[in-house]
Amino acid sequence: MADEIKKAPAPLKVTIDNITVEVPAGTTILKAARQIGGEVTPPAMCYYSKLEGSGGKCRTCLVEVAAGSTADPRPMPKLVASCRTNVMDGMVVKNITSERVQEARAGVVEFLLLNHPLDCPVCDQAGECHLQDLGYQHGKEGTRYQFERRTFEKEDIGPKIQLHMNRCILCYRCTYVADQLTDCRVHGVLDRGDHANISTHISKAIDSNFSGNMIDVCPVGALTDKTFRFKNRVWFTKPVDAHRDCPECCGKVTLWQRGDEVLRVTARKDEWGEIQSYDGKPGWICNTCRFEKKAAADWVIEGPTVVNRHSVISQGHYQGMQMPKETIQDVMSGLNPRLLMDIHDISEVNKIELSQLPGAATSANYKNESTKSE
């Protein structure tokens, strides 16, 4: 008997979209679904496993519970937020196999996009935006909304972060970052209902050395890195994993490069778009690493980042790609081809040091000789 007591509690069996997994007690439906992975996993716009108390708000992760548990197999009358509902033994969950869920989720996406400015063409998040992904999956062409969208003023919250409240989906993640990672929270949610907004209230600068992590947790382009603003589209940049010895943080980052220039530094993300953990500790990075270390020489480069998101950015990524066989050497009996031209001599565009520009790169920069490097 005594042996039995010492044993870990028995794992619980849960079936999600006809796939059964075993998980420890206290696991949420979302976490169990992530264990299965793939399409079965509900999208999560507000939940963030590294932020305590997050989730439950956006309602994109709603699922149907067709049977509560073996002990009480009744279905739950309402759809539940999978990010905040714990698994019971024998629970049967329907996500992509439930029409009700698909319909409700499409509804939530419509609500999220209702007042969204849809300014993806000028938004830095485009290409790695979770709302874009959702829109592609569940959105409809056109809108049924015939009214003016609500707007807010842009706000600089701190010297390196800009807030575009128009794009915000009020997931509250940034407020949890401020609460849990910085010493003194100076921003939060003001007002309520459809006029609720993230603000510092008195336009007070956020200056904490971990504040930059808000940018990484923001699922949309509401919080953007001012040092990267308009510098480039993410899909033109080349992400590489790199690290440095940082006294403040884990120092493990992704550098987003164009040529040798480091345009942006972010924490490394996992397949759910969350910051990666190392030895169970979330790999938040400090503002020094994020905003100050913009030279490749500051970093030890480990190699290309594996981008495993399903979004636009991964359209041209390297994972799983078949490299065509090099044939020139074959036909030239083992000789290497001689390069005939240097692309930089042909194209002026490539001579511009994007990171040296004071603001956004525009066609004027390319026309204007004086801004060329040298």
């Binding site: 309602r59 309402k78 509804g107 009020l170 939060g188 949610v189």
Partner: protein, 451 residues
């Protein structure tokens, strides 16, 4: 002639003062409970009484109390919900304003049953003067030994604090209320955990409506079984109804839940009929969140039975042909009222009061309001009614707290029962600006009062 248990003495001169209240038999229930009953016995009496929560959901109070977890060394709390912000509901205000000691008396006994040594009254900010009345009553109760340390030598300590809200309907939702009481933004919490397990400051907490707690006084005085004999079926005891709208005598009435809706509207003892000989068009029987009913379905259920003023009968027929007792805010509309305008007004209220946490409620309430405004002002399009229906359907059941449902239900019910009136607003936009749609087929079958 129904029995009155709560408001019977409310109009005695100076009943607000401790001396008069005590002379009229006040605080007897505390004596009885603390001297002759154990806390569990008090809860048992509440269970026997069949008392159902008077705040809107109608959940059995005794059962709710028995869910309260009692871990060793962790304080428990009683929080009285006096936020009363539902349009059409003003019964708690009346009770607290006229006979405040009844609430304090009920609270001492309830706190004893629950083991709460610090109990709170969370009152809506706009009831500023009532907060003073309550504080005065608490002060008097202290002076006479009904609060404080070792009450009546029972070893039980209890203090009551009044906390004013700052003008948010959402802070009436029990978990938003607890957040606000803790000094935070009044966002509803995600449940579970329920307050009975993790409530105020993370401790087990019972949140109850003012009227629910006041009902403890007659329950203990008369015994749970006696209390349960009043009323009908699962609607035991008496209920306060705040009646307003197109009636001759708006006000707060205590009913014993055995009378019919027809009697309530037309008899001189209660609402006294509809003024100026107008006809009854529709009614919201339980506060703005519950479905509106047209006259024909209000007075008789779909089965053709007389509809009674109690929990079961008002809900008879589900949402298809019934409504809810809700918080007892009884809003009557005569044939000159416009259902579209009325629905717009409610939609505007819910848009304004949404906390904005979850997307369907935050975005959907504003959308519905805008469409309803277009319909009301003659700019409606033919697809708007179906669109409204679809929006409310996508909000309902998909939100964190019931405010989303409360915003969806009135819109759904108005379209369900008054679709032709909405359509008329689309097809006759100019005429709709000049006159009201009137009665059509919801004709009030009664033109004379029954009393």
């Amino acid at each position: 002639m129904g029995r009155k248990l709560l408001l019977e003495k409310a109009h005695i001169e100076n009943i607000r003062s401790y001396e008069v209240y005590r002379k009229e038999g006040g605080y007897r229930s505390v004596e009885k409970a603390l001297k002759t009953l154990t806390p569990d016995q008090v809860t048992d009496e509440v269970k026997k009484s069949g008392l159902r929560g008077r705040g809107g959901a109608g959940f059995p109070t005794g059962m709710k109390w028995s869910f309260l977890t009692k871990p060793e060394g962790v304080p428990r709390y009683l929080v009285v919900n006096a936020d009363e912000s539902e349009p059409g509901t003003f019964k708690d205000r009346y009770l607290m304003e006229f006979i405040p000691h009844l609430l304090i008396e009920g609270m001492v006994t309830s706190s004893y049953a629950l083991g709460s040594n610090r109990s709170y009254i969370y009152i809506r900010g706009e009831y500023a003067w009532i907060a003073h009345i309550l504080e005065q009553a608490i002060e008097e109760a202290h002076q006479h030994g009904w609060l404080g340390k070792n009450i009546l030598g029972s070893g039980f300590d209890c203090n009551i604090y009044v906390q004013r809200g700052a003008g948010a309907y959402i802070c009436g939702e029990e978990t938003a209320l607890l957040e606000s009481l803790e000094g935070k933004r009044g966002n509803p919490r995600i449940k579970p955990p329920f307050p009975a397990v993790k409530g105020l400051w993370g401790c087990p907490t019972a949140v109850n409506n003012v009227e629910t707690i006041a009902a403890l006084v007659p329950i203990i005085n008369e015994g749970g079984e006696e209390y349960a004999k009043i009323g009908m079926g699962k609607s035991t005891g008496t209920k306060l109804i705040s009646a307003c709208g197109n009636i001759n005598k708006p006000g707060v009435y205590e009913i014993d839940m055995t009378i019919s809706v027809e009697e309530f509207i037309y008899s001189d003892e209660y609402c006294g009929g509809i003024p100026q000989g107008k006809k009854l068009k529709a009614c919201i029987p339980g506060g703005s969140s519950v479905p509106i009913l047209p006259a024909n379905l209000l007075l008789k259920t779909a089965k053709g039975e007389a509809r009674m003023m109690n929990y079961e009968s008002l809900a008879d027929g589900g949402f298809a042909t019934g409504s809810m007792m809700g918080s007892g805010g009884f809003i009557v509309m005569d044939d000159t009222q416009c259902v579209v305008k009325h629905t717009y007004t409610l939609a505007r209220f819910y848009r304004h009061e949404s906390c904005g946490q979850c997307s369907p409620c935050r975005e959907g309430t504003g959308w519905m309001e805008k469409i309803l405004w277009n319909l009301e002002t003659g700019k409606g399009r033919s697809g708007d009614i179906d669109l409204l229906w679809d929006i409310q359907r996508k909000i309902e059941g998909n939100t964190i707290c019931p405010l989303g449902d409360a915003a969806a239900w009135p819109v759904a019910a108005a379209i369900r029962h008054f679709r032709d009136e909405f359509e008329w607003h689309v097809t006759h936009p100019e005429e709709a600006q000049k006159r009201n749609y009137g009665l059509a087929h919801y004709a009030d079958p009664l033109s004379v009062s029954v009393a």
